[in-house]
Symmetry: C2
Subunit: 629 residues, 2 copies
């Protein structure tokens, strides 16, 4: 059977016994979920019962690509790592770009399921359909840059894509990341620690097989249309300055999280801005496979105490977290810390928030010089911030305390610390302020399956509420919607739409950036349907994509439900019910979360008391197997 | 004879006797200067002897278009007003965009020379080759918006382009502007006062004649190439955010002039940034005729004390001048002041600098409540700033004092005020800091024919010294040049190149923005040569364009020499030899201006003691008629 748009195979690797097998995918079953996160949700829901320790051998990990991965579709460079997070105990999906996803698919596999635990350090080498589990004893203890270099040398192939963990993952830092292509992070939730727990140092891929396109002419013309539309992309700073271009914009609006979210306006913002980076430290731009935006930036600091070799980043999230969140306005310190996070393998968001939280605890006397080993955790001290990054990765002294993340630190320090702990379900809140202009973000932080998340649901599209419909008009939905302040059911309908419109990117293996806009300026569900239809030969409609997205979203909710998460956990940190004290958005706070949740659950067809999908909803989605919860 | 690329005619209007005549242009003579500013320099040099009062009937004004004006060439929307400035006593050329230039050309005229003085207010109406001098008695006293509305009504043609003066020009404010298309300013040097002195309220144009292209296919492919190259334009914020996008960038580099140039870093920059404007006040973008960048922005403030109807702007210069230069971080106040400048007809740069200077004088006790009519001129007071704009336009009270500009105010206030007066040759310095990263700007302020000027020479291209060659490599010039800090002759060579490369835009009637970049990312002299050759049918080389540019540049120097300007006047304000006190560029100052001037004069073939073109140079340029000076 010829597969179009997919490799058609799933690779299952058992690290305990060193065996692997290749499974043919079922075409109809795949279409039900489309691929990537959608199909991974089905695999993990069905294969990994509730209550498993995320760091135990029984825990499974899915590396997942989607139909657009590796194609000419803009943003064809994505893959996702799906797993249960050791940081939160919830479902987690960590997306990354670069070329790892495309090469995995060219090697013949849409998915890799990793199970068990190796007795000694190993890496998995996948190349043109061949699979080897090889010793990584000589790599253990190396950082990611060194590991990548060593693997390229020993495999004698400069074209391999390496996804590896560094010391942070080996040491079990609960927010350790997996880094591929040297500087692209599957960052959030601690996948690095999961790899470490399995003695898995890296997955290395290469492949030269292509991806077959069912209707090439139609596909080319849909891609051409996408590229035309994207020329009108509303978030122009992303292609021009990279994501860091958001620093100036968000600060001007009072939306730049600062000092552990104490405020949302940072006096030193212009010193950590995209404009400044571009001028002073940028070496070149870098695009993920097939991307027309090229938001990636390579930087280095040429001399001084923060000197670094060239490295990808820092991204916007990183700059806010290791910069403004810690009160640091020295971009060289941020670039150094970004470099260290990338080579040690740390999620820059949780790292920055853990440090910012510790700085506020220190300010308030909840952490003292005794616990900090005499380090003075003063706001804005770039040297201390950089030092802490190193100690976290090594899990030494105060670093071992910070390596647990904000939730566990706060529990240890007691109620006064819990008051100022800014996380949802244990995931540190990223660099987007839910109290000011993007107030609609509040509900999205509350309901995201992985905790406070900047990617799922697709909050950014709601940012321009009233301007960007994200294709909503195509669906005949009421537009423009009620004002963001309006807590009506209509808002629930809009939230539902945006959740699912964003989830389409996740199940197709596309970058979420491409779904921000409106007809003519982004890739709407309708246009994705054209692309996927031409690619796969299935006649997929936008409505079918939305349905598959809804399936994925509901399955992840069911996964979490089985772990004990219900409406009671859809809460926000206390800080967000306190007004922003100063700056352009002074006075703003989150109010009425419960009413918003009511509207959202109702629109989703979820039970309002539990916040969980009803049996009727699951039956409607053809997910009977998930009803037992 | 068929004219390609030009209308082929000059219109001469004498306001004293109400007569006009149409003169055929000489093709060879025109090619020598190419057009626009180049040809206008010849006209004014030859027809307007030295020593004429710029506000006397003998003073002449040239409205000038170039070969690319009105064509498909990107930036085909420019025209220039050339005249002797009442503010500086020097040559002046004030460029503006919109559709006035194209319509003038479509009406059959490349140039309009305005002479004499009408006995009573008039306007000139040019339409499809017809010319009428009509009474403007009913328009005198109206602002520019009202004048434009009234003219469209009475001429019963919504398609006319109106260039008019407001109350500021009528009242003789020395930096009154001419505004066309409601919001596009020929701003600098007081052309509004010159119009006022002639009782000339407006020039109104419309035309439906086309412009013939000699080799259409070749022209289309050169334009296509230009559009391709411009997609890589290095100053990406200009197309995306408009010129105001520079606020964040320049502030982050310590290059944002603040508080009358006391410093170069403004704490309130993010409140007056392009990002903030875009988010809060922008209604739409607006392009000049044929422009692919569309840097213009329409804005309004919907309510409150600074409420305004929709209006074009504010541009970067305006925002810095009426914002940071006055310490004002309230963008609504800036938008209001921009609106008032546009309807009263004021140059926003000189207006802002005059107010900023007055604020510093007030701070230092050089201006007191007695002179200010009790107004407290405190840094950052947006209400006072807006109030002063109104009073300047009306020339009332303290406004009459400010309406003279910084140089005259300082002379009146004495030496302590002259110490802090930031102008060159009487023209207030615009929003670009010559002490910090763009130190090369210093010499350009010093030598520009119209005084401290942000347009001529083409300083911005030197900003990226070492990155952007502006086509210099095409000329076989040494590249990269010596570092900006190096005061060698080589630098003189580079300055000369950049001066002339920028002047090509001026003689072709193109926007200077298009010349910032390098081969593949801007319109280089070589590419302009391709465009002009295909358009006119002349086989023009880049070297010929450079030669014509040099002719223009030298003639303007001769014009000024006749008015008494020599090397001794190529000076900078005292402030620039004082170090910037704080911010990212703390400590920077201008040093070694004399050595830079030596290098520049030598490279230009000018006499080092007088700073004037030598007879040999003028002979080489075929400008014997200018040797007499």
């Amino acid at each position: 059977m010829t597969w179009y748009g997919f490799a058609g195979k799933l690779l299952r690797v058992n690290l305990t016994n060193g065996e692997f097998k290749v499974e043919e995918l079922d075409r109809n079953e795949l279409r039900k979920y489309m691929g990537c996160v959608g199909y991974a949700a089905k695999v993990l829901y069905q294969e990994m019962p509730g209550g498993i320790d995320p760091l135990a051998p029984e825990a499974k990990v899915v590396l997942a690509t989607g139909p657009v991965t590796g194609t000419l579709c803009p943003s064809g460079g994505s893959y996702e790592v799906c797993y249960k997070s050791p940081l939160t105990g919830t479902w987690n999906q960590a997306r990354s770009g670069g070329s790892f996803g495309p090469k995995l698919k060219y090697s013949g596999f849409d998915f890799v399921v990793i199970e068990g635990k190796a007795a000694e350090p190993v890496y998995i080498y996948i190349h043109n359909g061949q699979v080897e589990i090889k010793s990584a004893k000589h790599l253990w203890g190396l950082n990611i840059e060194e590991t990548t270099d060593a693997l390229i040398r020993e495999l004698d192939d400069p074209e391999v894509s390496v996804a590896a963990i560094g010391q942070a993952g080996e040491n079990g830092v609960l927010y350790a990341a997996l880094i591929n292509d040297r500087g692209r992070a599957a960052g959030r939730g601690g996948i690095g620690a999961v790899f470490g727990s399995k003695n898995l140092k890296a997955v290395v891929v290469n492949g030269r097989g292509g991806i077959k396109v069912a209707r090439p002419k139609e596909f080319a013309s849909a891609i051409e249309k996408a590229e035309q539309w994207l020329r009108n992309y509303p978030f122009a700073s992303i292609p021009t300055l990279g994501t860091i271009g958001l620093v100036s914009l968000l600060n001007s609006l009072g939306m730049l999280p600062t000092k552990n979210f104490q405020t949302a306006h940072f006096g030193g913002a212009d010193r950590i801005s995209g404009e400044y980076l571009n001028r002073k430290y940028q070496i070149k731009r870098r695009a993920c496979y097939s991307c027309t935006f090229a938001c990636g930036r390579y930087t280095s600091v040429s001399s001084g105490k923060f000197a670094t070799p060239p490295m990808e980043g820092p991204e916007y999230e990183t700059v806010d977290m290791l910069g403004a969140i810690c009160g640091v306005d020295d971009l060289e310190a941020v670039i150094k810390a970004n470099y260290l996070c990338n080579v040690y393998g740390l999620d820059t968001i949780s790292t920055g928030m853990s440090i910012g939280f510790a700085m506020e605890c220190y300010e308030k006397g909840l952490l003292t010089d005794k616990e900090t080993e005499g380090m003075v955790l003063r706001w804005g001290d770039g040297e201390v911030m950089v030092k802490l990054v190193e100690r976290i990765a090594q899990k030494e002294g105060i670093g071992a305390f910070l390596a647990q993340g904000v939730k566990r630190m706060a529990e240890h320090l007691g109620p006064a610390a819990e008051e100022i702990a800014v996380h949802v379900k244990g995931l540190e809140v990223p660099a987007h302020e839910p109290r000011s202009e993007s107030k609609v973000l509040a509900i999205q932080y509350a309901v995201s399956p992985r905790g406070a998340c900047h990617m799922h649901p697709n909050w950014a599209s709601t940012w321009d509420f009233g301007q960007l419909d994200c294709g909503m008009k195509e669906f005949g939905l009421p537009w423009p919607p009620a004002a963001p302040q309006d807590e009506s059911l209509q808002k629930g309908v809009v939230y539902r739409y945006i959740t699912l419109q964003g989830e389409i990117s996740e199940i197709l293996g596309a970058c979420i950036f491409y779904s921000w806009g409106t007809e003519g300026s982004c890739i709407t569900p309708q246009l994705y349907a054209e692309i996927v239809s031409a690619l796969t030969g299935w006649d997929v409609t936008a409505a079918e994509l939305m349905l598959a997205a809804e399936r994925s979203w509901n399955l992840k909710r069911c996964f979490n439900a089985r772990e004990g998460f219900t409406r009671k956990d859809d809460r926000l940190p206390k800080r967000f019910s306190q007004a922003i004290p100063d700056g352009p958005s002074a006075g703003a706070k989150v109010v009425g979360l419960d009413a918003m949740l009511d509207g959202y659950y109702e629109a989703m067809g979820w039970d309002k008391s539990t916040g969980l999908p009803t049996p009727e909803k699951l039956r409607e989605l053809d997910l009977e197997f998930a009803i037992k919860l």
